[in-house]
Amino acid sequence: MAARQSILGRAGIVLALVVFVFAATGPIVWLLLSSVLQQQALTSIPPDLSPSSFTLANYLEVFSSAAQLGRAIINSLIVATFTTALAIILGAPAAYALARLEIKHAGTILLMVLAAQMFPAIVIAIPLFITASKLGLIDTKLLLILVYLSFNLPIVIWVLRGFFMGLPLGLERAARVDGASPLQTFLRIVLPISLPSLFAAAIFAFIEAWNEFFFALIMTRQTAQTVPLAISAFAGQYQTMFGQMMAAAAISVAPIILLTILLRNTILRGFADGMLKG
């Protein structure tokens, strides 16, 4: 009876995992598939998946107009990297301070950090645009970095604060008995053992910055255009080049997927941590 139940239980788990894997990888598979199909094969219903429909022309087209996508990728890399680095450099100490130090009104500060996140983007877009244009920042990467930082920093602070609070106090107490100041404890004990979580938060911030479309559309024209805008450029007024758009999208998500695959163990540990024995 117990054996039968456990077989049923295992079957249930396997089934759930299969559904999850399909849901997670389906869009990516469809993206890759669409990027190598001819426009006609792609838009016919059902899509024509015969071998003759497959082509690399979409990629060749994208590469031939590579100047624009290339520049967008470089822009996105710069914006996402700086956003991520700043979010971690500023967010981690703030999160640690809010988690562990006796700070007056820590609760209010945390709530304000979160409140900044709560405004719908459209509400702040217009005042932000006016301010940025008065400062001469429109169509600059600096502006995108600042904007993305404003909504990545609160998330990084909240996520890392939660992680730091879950760290066993013992290590920090041991460091205090060893004579470490709060800053030394943070830099020499807490940060090194928090690397997986910092990575996880960093990947999250990077993806957010890499994928952002709305503010990039409003705040940039040509010079600072990022990848999502470059991809959307394949949708014209009269015709949408689905195949090329998908090829461009495939190229643009490649770094993220690669990064995630390479760092998957670190990211998983980051999410699973808090079980650290101390």
Binding site: P168, R173, A174, D178, G179, A180, G278
Partner: protein, 361 residues
């Protein structure tokens, strides 16, 4: 090495009063254990001595100097934590030398001190390993090593052996005792394990509900408990507490009536009881109860052979008493037995306060 004084220490977390007016004086080079069940305030007390927690009120003195406002490093204390608290990203050598690096010792001196501590603790061959690559006993020794490389004035141990198996615990106990004899550093040890406390300490402070119930040598707290709670807490098996009335009906021969049983007391105890009429609480250590001969009749409720001795629980009409008999003794549960006690060894306590009714010697 300093003496340590706790003067009327109170600690509250909001409405929770964890430590209630603790007074302790620990002599230079003494090994003192704070013993109590979980939640009695012993670890909080240790943390306040370490400087990791601030008392709500009261003073902590080291060598007569008030240290309330000093950080742990200013008090020059070293601490061994319950869960080792080793830095997982540092090697054994890194863990042991961390506090020396913070104090800008030269690499040569760090190397020398860590090497000396490692060889004393049999850790020389694992200096390059990470904590996760060590056994529990080795991890605990690294934690001790980290404390001794500093040559601190005070050692604090917070239930350091509670995660180790029994055999290892005994060995580590002996090592800590040996270390204390060798280094002569004032040491405070927290544990809930009475056997551990009694076996390694010069004196034991028994804590209950945030207060110190008794502070004395292991012999004192076992043989001469000041409260019924200490009598109950110290000693294995736990003693049974009898509620008895004082019977003076037989002229000068006062006895205690405990249910249907009647226990003789000494003349001195009768004097100590004075003119009391209310009930008293009575107990006796199992080794002073003998079975056989005439004595009081009771039913054998439980028999536990432990090897060198056999523990027998005897019961009668709502009361029970434990006896410890030498060697393996074959007795049958449910049978009637006769027991007698050594009245000199009876311990009498006030029914209200639980405090010992002392006989004058």
């Amino acid at each position: 090495m300093p003496s340590i004084e706790l003067i009327d220490i109170n600690k509250s977390y909001g409405a929770v009063h964890v430590c209630k007016g603790i007074n302790l004086t620990i002599a230079d080079r003494e090994f003192v254990t704070l013993l109590g069940s979980s939640g009695c305030g012993k670890t909080t007390t240790l943390n306040m001595i370490a400087g990791l927690d601030d008392p709500t009120s009261g003073d902590i003195l080291m060598d007569g100097r008030r240290v309330n406002d000093l950080e742990p490093v200013g008090r020059d204390v070293a601490m061994v934590f319950q869960n080792y608290a080793l830095y997982p990203h540092m090697t054994v050598a890194g863990n042991m030398g961390f506090n020396l690096r913070l104090r800008n010792f030269s690499p040569a001196e760090i190397h020398e001190r860590v090497g000396a501590a490692a060889s004393a603790l049999d850790l020389s061959h694992v200096l390059d390993r990470y904590p996760s690559q060590l056994s529990g006993g080795q991890q605990q020794r690294v934690a001790i090593g980290r404390a001794i490389v500093r040559h601190p004035k005070v050692f604090l141990f917070d239930e350091p052996f509670s995660n180790l198996d029994a055999a290892l615990r005994n060995r580590m106990r002996a090592e800590v005792k040996e270390l204390h004899l060798r280094l002569g550093v004032t040491s405070i040890f927290v544990t809930h394990d009475q056997e551990e406390a009694l076996s390694i300490s010069d004196r034991v402070a028994i804590m209950r509900n945030g207060s110190v119930e008794q502070f004395g040598t292991p012999e004192d707290v076992y043989a001469d408990p000041e409260t019924v709670e200490v009598a109950r807490f110290i000693g294995t098996p736990q003693v049974e507490i009898l509620e008895c009335v004082i019977d003076r009906s037989n002229g000068s021969n006062t006895v205690l009536r405990c249910g249907s049983a009647s226990l003789p007391i000494t003349a001195r105890q009768a004097v100590a009881l004075g003119t009391r009429t209310e009930k008293v609480l009575v107990t006796i250590r199992p080794e002073y109860v003998t079975i056989g001969g005439q004595g009081t009749s009771a039913t054998i409720r439980d028999v536990q052979p432990t090897g060198p001795s056999t523990l027998v629980k005897l019961g009668w009409e709502g009361s029970a008493i434990m006896a410890r008999l030498n060697g393996i003794v074959r007795l049958t549960v449910g049978e009637t037995a006769h027991f007698s006690i050594d009245p000199m060894q009876l311990m009498l306590f006030d029914n209200e306060s639980g405090r010992r009714i002392k006989t004058k010697s």
